[in-house]
Symmetry: C2
């Protein structure tokens, strides 16, 4: 059958209006969740323990925020680049003007898509109402503090995934600000193919907003599902080396549950989820769905076709095989010329410099990865 | 540093004494666990509900065995090849003479390494004593029923992994029969790098027996860890497409915990765990251990070197990418010329015919995969 993406691909091969788009940049708050106060009612502030009298965020150490963070696995080097700290001494990545100078000016980045730092762990928060309040306030904070500071900033609407109807409502509200270019879904212990999420996909599908996922603390560290199959890893290096498993599992789930048949306009962006697993997942799914099609008759096309048409990947952390040729074969199998988008992960410890990262990719696809695939995925809002 | 395998590799490039070794063949019992009675004391039979008066295995359906089996995910096609049924009507794979004719004679297989069918789920059994009794009786049954029936049969010593000291004792006992060529470790929800298992590795290391793992029902379906990261899959096709995650997680765990430094003679055989993930796991581990070496200072070599030296893989289910060339690049990255061993998975539904499977591999490595890597891994016992 004709590939519905072919036409879009042809259109997108016109020169991009941008040279470089960074699809994974993390803003950090300067004063923790207290910064969200202007965007929360008095009742919400009390509910979240953020009212003036019970100011949890300023008692003791700044880590005492309400959103669960990964503090079970210790990265001895710290998770933030220390040189991403503004002269005012705030946390790395906390100053919109400093980030614009260091990251955007310094690397010729025309658009940076912001993925909230603290809210990555929102999926680990058990209370659906608290998560929804924080998400909505955070989205308003992001627009006011970051989008307004530099017109190269774009961002994701973050949602609390435990109440999909509240999430869908927040998507429709926030999407009126066209600087929001997608939805950030902080993962829980519920795989993405399950019907639980369909109201979220319905809203995203209708508005043409891609749904992005990103490693966080919610997809296993605090919940009943460990972050790797087979048991709970002991070390940060183990967790980090295995964290692509969550994305493998969710892509398998999306395909097998027929989500892309039900929401044909939906794109999913796997951010910081790695690339090396794409061939394995495509090959296993294609082989198994051929052999087991009675179980999932709604999977009408080859799984790899759904993945190539509907799932997008960001570059960081880029595989670094000993032989560059092996990275290029991976790009060929994963059709990186239409699925891969540059990301730096600024200001995290394992930031990828665009000059280096893009230089390791095949020359023929560099422009696609630098900006064209992002323009195609995010559309006019970018 | 000098690669300790180089010499062995050079030695092994002498022509193999076998043409074809099948590293994954499943014997099935004809009458369930009742067949183990001659190898259990009266007290053990009572403990297991296998004594004559309370014969659980013959009440109702044959599925009522005591070892947990995967009955949560339904393969509509059944998991056994119906044509592997002997003329006496017993279960497929249950007749040693019929299997010898159909599988060994029919495919020119010189050695078949048996992996107990029913005991694959032993890791899901919560009672460590019951598992140890069943394991020991099963090993005696395997030697008497299968090894004695045809001298091309070899097999694994199965152990109950919840009591590693009992397991080590059983390894030392059973290994006196040199037709046992390795140890089968039915996985639980404890990752393989953890110290829990070290008595088992110590025994295997000392005796030169590789430790094999295989998909089963114990590595997630019944336990607290789901079989895929991020949540519990819904469908058989999802579970099967994602089951390599358990092996990715365990290889990451083995490397990060320094198991191969502590047990330098240890080989681990990932049976039926897939191949497509090997590059991803090697690349991620190499990159991360370089960046995070303070956390795991005992990982002195590059993770990929440990994997290539200590971990072996079996072919079935072989990846079937659209372009044969991509399978060959995978073989190059995974150094299949020394890590990959042929397996058919007879009598399971997704049996790989050796003529077809080997034919898809690069011609230069076919003999290594057909027999030489197996001879090198199992040693003289084969």
């Amino acid at each position: 059958m004709a590939d519905p993406r072919d036409q879009t691909l042809a259109e997108a091969s016109a020169p991009s209006r941008y040279r470089l788009v960074d699809c994974d940049v993390h803003p950090i708050t300067k004063r923790g969740l207290a910064e969200l106060r202007p965007f929360l009612s008095q009742a919400e502030q009390r509910r979240l323990g953020l009212d003036e009298r019970r100011n949890l965020t300023t008692i003791g150490h700044r880590e005492a925020v309400s959103i669960p963070r990964n503090m079970l696995y210790v990265n001895q080097a710290g998770v933030l680049r220390d040189d991403a700290r503004a002269p005012d001494g705030s946390a790395p990545g906390a100053d919109p003007a400093f980030t614009a100078r260091q990251l955007l000016d310094g690397n010729g980045i025309d658009r940076a898509v912001l993925i909230g730092g603290e809210v990555l762990g929102l999926g680990a928060m058990p209370d659906p109402d608290a998560a929804a309040m924080i998400a909505s306030a955070y989205n308003r904070w992001l627009a006011t503090t970051w989008f307004d500071a530099d017109d190269r900033y774009r961002g994701y609407i973050v949602v609390g995934a435990r109440d999909p109807l509240l999430a869908a409502r927040e998507i429709r509200r926030a999407a009126e600000d066209r600087r929001f270019v997608g939805v950030l879904l902080p993962l829980t212990d519920t795989l993405m193919g399950l019907r639980h999420y369909y109201p979220i996909y319905e809203a995203a599908n209708e508005l043409g907003l891609p749904v992005a996922v990103h490693p966080n603390s919610g997809e296993g560290i605090f919940r009943t599902s460990p972050p790797m199959a087979g048991g709970t890893p002991t070390y940060y290096v183990e967790w980090h080396s295995g964290l692509s498993q969550v994305f493998q599992a969710n892509v398998i789930s999306l395909v097998c549950h027929g989500v892309f048949e039900r929401f044909p306009n939906l794109k999913v962006i796997v951010t910081e989820g790695g690339l090396g697993w794409i061939p394995d997942v495509m090959w296993r799914l294609d082989k198994n769905v051929r052999g087991l099609r009675d179980e999932v008759p709604w999977v009408r096309r080859l799984p790899s076709e759904y993945i190539l048409d509907h799932v997008r990947f960001t570059t960081q952390p880029l595989p670094e095989p000993k032989r560059r040729h092996h990275l290029h074969v991976l790009c060929e199998i994963a059709h990186a010329e239409r699925t891969l988008m540059f990301s730096s992960d600024y200001p995290h410890w394992d930031f990828d410099d665009p000059r280096h990262a893009l230089g390791t990719l095949p020359a023929a696809i560099r422009q696609r990865v630098s900006s064209e695939n992002a323009v195609e995925t995010y559309g006019d809002r970018l």
